[in-house]
Amino acid sequence: AAGVIQSPRHLIKEKRETATLKCYPIPRHDTVYWYQQGPGQDPQFLISFYEKMQSDKGSIPDRFSAQQFSDYHSELNMSSLELGDSALYFCASSADRGHEQYFGPGTRLTVT
């Protein structure tokens, strides 16, 4: 069965650079979620989209922005990167709001 695809899987950036993470949800899933998980921490909800509209925001820094496109894929844009942004970033999709979420393999971002 098709799963959530995230790219790239690994990304190394320097401080103050920008990064773009991509997420391709499971076909026919209309809801996308983004999470950040630092080392040894629990996943932190960043933002969600339902039918290409922003649904909810969590602890997403102002330096980050995201959108969901007409084909339902989503991108998380991160600017002015800081060392503290080093983390695993997960994308998840669901068939509808509140339904079980299917997580991608994550993008490991390292900021040096």
Binding site: V4, T31, Y33, Y35, D42, P43, Q44, F45, S48, Y50, S55, D56, G58, L88, F90, A92, S94, R97, G98, H99, E100, Q101, Y102, F103, G104, P105, G106, R108
Partner: protein, 112 residues
């Protein structure tokens, strides 16, 4: 959003039944209870979801008392591969989006 409280960690042995209880005293009428499992460096994986009484699937059972102020995830006959972090989430499936909050999960260690 209802706050959840789970034990920080639990130990078990292979073949035993493990019960992880989650407290959610201020759960709202429309809130559902969802459990996820997470292995290191992987995205969380949906285990089970329920609203009241008992739900069972091929991997776990979820017990929810009448007052719904707590829930218990039951893993029958655990194996070493069940060593993971287990998260209990509570959220409203119907109003607006679904702001998913992962609290501090329960780290389950299964020993041989």
């Amino acid at each position: 959003l209802a706050k959840t409280t789970q034990p920080i960690s639990m130990d078990s042995y292979e073949g035993q039944e493990v019960n992880i209880t989650c407290s959610h005293n201020n759960i709202a009428t429309n809130d559902y209870i969802t459990w996820y499992q997470q292995f290191p460096s992987q995205g969380p994986r949906f285990i089970i979801q329920g609203y009241k009484t008992k739900v069972t699937n091929e991997v776990a059972s979820l017990f929810i008392p009448a007052d719904r102020k707590s829930s218990t995830l039951s893993l029958p006959r655990v194996s070493l591969s069940d060593t993971a972090v287990y998260y209990c989430l509570v959220g409203d499936m119907y109003t607006g989006g679904f702001k998913t909050i992962f609290g501090a999960g329960t780290r389950l260690f299964v020993k041989a």
